[in-house]
Amino acid sequence: MRTEFRLSGSGGQGLLLAGIVLAEAAILEDKNAVQTQSYGPEARGGASKAEVVISPEDIDYPKATDPDFLLALTPESYKSYGPLMGKGTIIVDASVPLNPEIKARTLSIPILKTASEDLGKKVVANIVALGALAGVSGIVAEQTLALAVKNRVPKGTEELNLSALKKGFELAKAARA
């Protein structure tokens, strides 16, 4: 049974890294995982998307077809991918105005604000988002994800990123309650 994730936002937000960490955590739990990406020619600012497919079985097609979870950090990404959501859940940043025509289950979570205000660093929004996504989906255990975060973030930023991850899980818990 495949579980598909689409992480979308703007180039430079670190969504690709979030996707890599999620895939790596799944592998640490002995699952199969494939991560792909699509992005524009710009280094920053263009639309950016990472996809992760996790399955206990062999994964033939590497991209998301009908995502179980969509993360949207910008109004543009919510507008592009929100309407495509069928069975899955949307996790959208609280700064993004919701469109009542998008009927998929939607959780509006203050990801960007938590990163910039509670943690004081806008750059860890991707890891806050990752914690929220993992918390809502329950796809991997928090301690596995923490290990994967430690493996992949720049040296010296581990503690900051681990607090960001913890915040993300807390936001997920609050959103589900």
Binding site: I27, A33, V34, Y39, P41, Y61, P62
Partner: protein
């Protein structure tokens, strides 16, 4: 077996090259191949190898030919625009019989095209991009693990037959990360070119007419010989005699023909009783595999043939499977290049349908499934 790792296609290509003995890389970074240059720059100095960032792709291809002539195992990596610039040198490596490996991570072309989007439009260029009849081998990995395996194989073929070898991937295969368990170094077969024993009487291009491979001396080891892109006799010096030209060109191309049964590589899924045969390579084959499995679940006898050696194409294997099929569908991210090969090989017995996608996106499985289920268009 080593531990399972999350690995990118470009990373696996680089690790494959290193495992095969790569010790000289010259290149000009270009999306979506850049990670190969980055990782080579990082890793080669650790193993006593050299990394050179060149002024352009012409220089890159020339540098790896020169370094190979000194006994190094050499590689460069590029994408469409750079691959176009390298074509002249691929012909040179072919006629001068210099082992080189070129990785082409395909993006949408022609020209600078779409740098970050996948395509498979360089298939025929990989085979026929340089002028004149010439020897070249083209391998197409279909997943991250095969990026490793086929890059090792590319080096082995280059060394065994003294031919240029192209590893043809694309943006999806190159950038995709998946769970991979790589083989241990001790499990790998690693070839090295056959060298002469002593300089006395060495004739650098002396070989059996029937696709023989001459012994290759390294420059700097006391052998004095001439290398040229002109037709040459067994001494390496130019000749325009008709009989020498004829024999030489036939031997060059016969090398690959003779290698075919040895290097042949393909995978099949559900082809034993298949009525609808899908033929695809590289990332298109991932979508195809999913479509074939879904069609089987719906009771349609679909199967997949996926060449890993695309040139020389595994002709006999395909013909045998195609002969039993009622339809053949060829999904590819170009306007019908692999289809030309399939039409040539099987078209007179079984109808071959092209299925092209050129919008810079990978096929969705349902697009292929619809054609499999929907009948001929």
């Amino acid at each position: 077996m080593t531990k399972a790792k999350l690995m990118q296609g470009n990373e696996a290509c680089t690790l494959g090259a290193l495992a095969a003995g790569l010790d000289f890389y010259a290149g000009y970074p270009i999306t979506p191949s850049t990670e190969i240059a980055e990782l080579c720059a990082e890793e080669l100095p650790k193993v006593g190898g050299k990394f050179v960032q060149m002024e352009d792709e012409i220089g890159s291809a020339a540098a790896i030919i020169g370094a190979s002539l000194t006994g190094r195992k050499t590689m460069t990596a590029t994408s469409g625009p750079g691959f176009s610039l390298m074509q002249e040198l691929i012909g040179y490596a072919g006629i001068a019989e210099v082992p080189i490996v070129i990785v082409n991570v395909q993006r949408v072309g022609p020209s600078t095209g779409q740098p970050t989007s996948p395509a498979q439009g360089d298939l025929m260029q990989a085979r026929w991009g340089t002028h004149g009849d010439h020897p070249v081998v083209v391998l197409a990995p279909g997943n991250v693990k095969e990026c490793f395996e086929l890059t090792v194989k590319a080096f082995n073929i280059a060394e065994d037959y003294r031919v240029p070898v192209v590893v043809l991937t694309d943006e999806v295969i190159g950038h995709m990360r998946e769970k991979v368990v790589l083989p241990e170094q001790a499990e790998l077969k690693v070839s090295r070119r056959k060298m002469p024993e002593a300089p006395g009487g060495y004739k650098p291009y002396e070989a059996d007419d029937d696709g023989g491979v001459p012994l290759m001396a390294s420059f700097g080891q006391g052998y004095r010989y001439h290398v040229t892109g002109l037709f040459h006799d067994e001494t390496g010096f130019p000749s325009n005699k008709g009989d020498i030209t004829d024999r030489f060109l036939r031997r060059l191309c016969r090398k690959v023909e003779k290698a075919e049964p040895v290097i042949r590589d393909y995978v099949t899924e559900s082809t034993d009783d298949c009525e609808v045969l899908v033929v695809a390579f590289g990332s298109s084959a991932m979508s195809s595999l999913s479509a074939v499995r879904q069609a089987r679940a719906k009771g349609v006898k679909a199967g997949l043939f996926r060449p890993k050696t695309v040139f020389p194409f595994p002709e006999e294997a395909l013909k045998a499977i195609a002969a039993k099929a009622k339809r053949i569908i060829v999904p590819e991210m170009n306007l019908g290049q692999l289809a030309l090969e399939i039409e040539r090989l099987a078209g007179c017995k079984t109808p071959v349908e092209r299925l092209s996608k050129v919008n810079g996106e990978l096929f969705k499985p349902e697009e292929i499934l619809a054609r499999v289920m929907g009948g001929a268009k």
